[in-house]
Amino acid sequence: MVEFASNTGQLTEWPGRALHGTPDAAAMALLGELSRLLARPLESQERDYRVAIILRLSRLMPPAPRPHHRRVARALMQDTASWHGGQVFSLVDGDLVLLCQPRRAAGGAAISASTRAVEPEALPDMLRQLLRVDTPPGFDPVTVWPLATHGQALHDDIRARVVQQEGRRVMEEEYAGQTEVMDVLGSFISSAAIADLLQRQTAVLLRGGGEGRGGLLPIYQEITFSIAALEGRVASAASASTDPFLFRHLATRLDLRILDILTQAAGMGGPLDVTRQDVPALHINLTVQGILTADFARLAAVAGAQPGRAAPRVAVEVNLLDAVADFSAFERARAVLAESGFAFVLENVSHLSLMLTRPGVFDAALVKLDWSPRLAEFSGAERATLHAALREIGLERVVLHRAETEAALRWGVASGIRRFQGRHVDAMLGAARIVGCGFAKGCTLRHCIERAGATNALGRADCLNLALLDAAVPQGSALSTSVRSEAIL
């Protein structure tokens, strides 16, 4: 009998989906095969020794499983099946089942040199390794079921699954046609009135200490276009961000619009006024190409440092991908920013890019690290690499972005990070405003958060205290001793 390295015979429950859907043809076929094998005498089953290896792709962390996970995993399992007299079943929800009869290759190598097939004993670990980045913490995506001992349990589970099948089908990414969809979106961006789709989010410095010095200090307000709203307005058939390259191209069009809108709004005193000194600094997202345009120069002219005028309180956030794609252009863009008096912020740094690159080398004013629950799960060498990377950036320059939950804040604080941006922060600021505002009698927390996020008159219309809305928190409160104490940071 072949000994498996780990979790032999481990039984885990199928996802508890009590929904009705289409019968799973592959599951039915698998049930038929299991019934046939289990009908044989026990001695025969033990002698033949068959196993089922189940890959739970449906339980990966979103946005996984992607079609490539399924495609590649199936190819690997199919090779093993071909060499070990087996069969792969693709279930409707994306899970894969390999039913095979392991027989050792000469020499016991994990991968057969002549057939490139992965031996059944090595396959689970290979799949775990491939999927480790997208596997939920503490979850094993691969289970192994020896049929002689656990065949009936497997049969029962598969049968229950057929009844309970949700019918969620895995969609293949459709690259063909994506360009046309993006063309429609791009044309809309260039020609339609989209200023009302600009949204605002405040980032804060979490300060400790007593004597009223602790609390949330707003450090900047980021102005971005809502991509979801854009897609909704053109009834886009595909997500703009499906193809990162096309999305970066679209971003260059968004640049021109936001630069134009901000230039027009300068000096008007609204939430998009880059010359205001009574609110936190403004952050805008631009591509490297966008910074090198005449449109940027026009904005810099109205916001930039001039005799008799305070230094600009504007920072430009540049995507890590953009900076790396054309480094010489990035260096030119950075020089333009410095000349304009605008700070440079590096954004879109994920936990994975933090492990693969050294964002600290950019020497940005701030580095925006996107929150992922995975950050809290790192251990051993990975954890050491992560913290070394944070130290290299400098914790005082790290903003934990997309901090949507308390868990994110908790991890950030425990890691020494003090700057945060995200929906959880929005809620904290909203609560502070409700408490400190004299006109909040009819307001709900949700109202206050939505109005603070809006940049157009309609979205802010029902607020009777726009000065407080723009300042993010009450002046002089325990939450903010001064919004001007940190110009950019």
């Binding site: 590649v72 040199a113 193809d243 990162p244 794609a325 260096e331 994975l352 492990m355």
Partner: protein, 410 residues
């Protein structure tokens, strides 16, 4: 620019012009030199009719028209193309045997000016012939013209940048185009123990400039970098299809090609992987770019581990020396890195890679001095015109089987 021959297309004087022709010819010549592509070149030196520029109008429009007509027999030669340079020289370039057409064209040029007594030179001096890649420098000198001014990027503005609509149309066009003619093979070589170089593997790539000139002459494919990156995915799939053509892999030696992560995880790659002969497994290098790696780090890690499990080597290409401190190759877990030579390259840049020098491919090796610089710093792999020259001069040296690179890097 006009194109003649098997894939003749209409002239496009409105969007090209002589400067554009010069740029494209220079690119073509350099590509021939680097990738060791054989071509024949004939030049009608109309510029010699204006030796001192005192009579700038000596070259009349009908001279140009007649000279072009005289070159018409060469239109039937394989892969023939015609370039009109700012100096008024006319260049015909073609592949393979075309002796009758060549001699007919040459005779026509000489005959055309035979009766012109005002000609400052003999008609025979209007005709010159060259062969590529050996005469690349001489042809480039002609392209630069008497003022020595190379065509510049600024002169490309007459081409229309690719936009989303034209990209979609071009992707459709690529699906049905004969792409084999645009494939170039760039040798990657390594030093031999007894001196000299031996071929480690061939890098296969599409000649983007020629592809653009033939299939989309009105567009600058690389003007919008993100659209070009998207286009490379389509090109990946065409390359995989070409490599999967009957007999292609069976006859291939160690090879490399550029690929996007999305393509590496595509059904087309899995089919290619299915067809890869046992003997070639472990001898295929996949070249990735930094922006592709960072566009989806999760997919990159998945693809990297999958490719490793299947026996592919992974290389990082298209990285500038200034980026090396930000993208440590060791952290990325790749086998090789392509580093393009520049005067600014310093030993400290190599140290910044945090990888063994023998895992570096020094690209753009145009001279012996650069080659020696790389070897003196322990670099183990080289590509560029000098490398192509060296391997052409010693064609029997090394085939990859002599010393498979994978054995050194395993």
């Amino acid at each position: 620019m006009s194109q003649v021959g098997r894939h003749r297309v209409a002239e496009s004087p409105a969007v090209g012009g002589a400067k554009q022709d010069a740029l494209q010819l220079a690119t073509l010549v350099r590509d021939c030199a680097v990738a060791d592509i054989a071509r024949n070149v004939a030049v009608v030196r109309l510029s010699r009719l204006e030796p001192d520029r005192q009579r700038p109008h000596h070259v009349r429009p009908h001279h140009v028209r007649l000279a072009r007509a005289a070159l018409e027999p060469l239109a039937q030669a394989e892969r023939a193309r015609l370039f009109m340079l700012p100096s008024r020289d006319i260049v015909a370039i073609w592949r393979g045997e075309a002796e009758v057409a060549r001699s007919t064209a040459k005779a026509a040029i000489e005959h055309m000016f035979a009766d012109d007594e005002s000609l400052p030179i003999s008609p025979q001096r209007l005709w010159e012939e060259y062969t590529l890649p050996g005469d690349a420098e001489a042809v480039l000198a002609i392209v630069r013209g008497p003022d020595g001014q190379p065509a510049t990027q600024a002169e490309r503005v007459k081409l229309i940048p690719l936009d989303l609509a034209s990209l979609a149309a071009f992707e459709q066009q690529l699906a049905h185009a004969d792409m084999a003619r645009f494939v170039r093979r760039l040798p990657i070589a390594m030093p031999r123990a007894k001196g000299g170089l031996t071929l480690a593997w061939e890098s296969r790539r599409f000649d983007i400039n020629e592809l653009a000139a033939c299939l989309s002459p009105r567009h600058d494919l690389q003007a919008e970098p993100w659209l070009f990156r998207r286009l490379t995915r389509t090109l990946d799939r065409r390359m995989l299809a070409l490599l999967g053509a009957h007999g292609e892999l069976a006859e291939a030696g160690p090879l490399a090609f550029q690929i996007n992560i999305a393509s590496l995880l595509s059904p087309e790659f899995l089919r290619f992987d299915d067809m890869l002969p046992v003997g070639l497994r472990g001898h295929v290098t996949l070249d990735l770019t930094p922006e592709d790696v960072l566009s989806n780090p999760s997919a990159f890690l998945f693809a990297r581990d999958f490719a490793r499990a299947r026996g592919y080597r992974l290389a990082l290409s298209g990285i500038a020396a200034a980026l090396l401190p930000i993208l440590p190759v060791r952290r990325l877990g790749l086998d090789l890195v392509h580093l393009h030579w520049s005067e600014a390259l310093r030993p400290a840049d190599l140290a910044a890679l945090q990888t063994e020098p023998e895992r570096i491919v020094l690209a753009g090796v145009e001279s012996e001095a650069v080659l020696l610089w790389g070897m003196s710093h322990g670099i183990g792999l080289f590509s560029g015109a000098r490398v192509s020259d060296a391997l052409r001069m010693h064609p029997r040296i090394g085939t990859g089987a002599e010393m498979p690179i994978s054995r050194r890097l395993a």
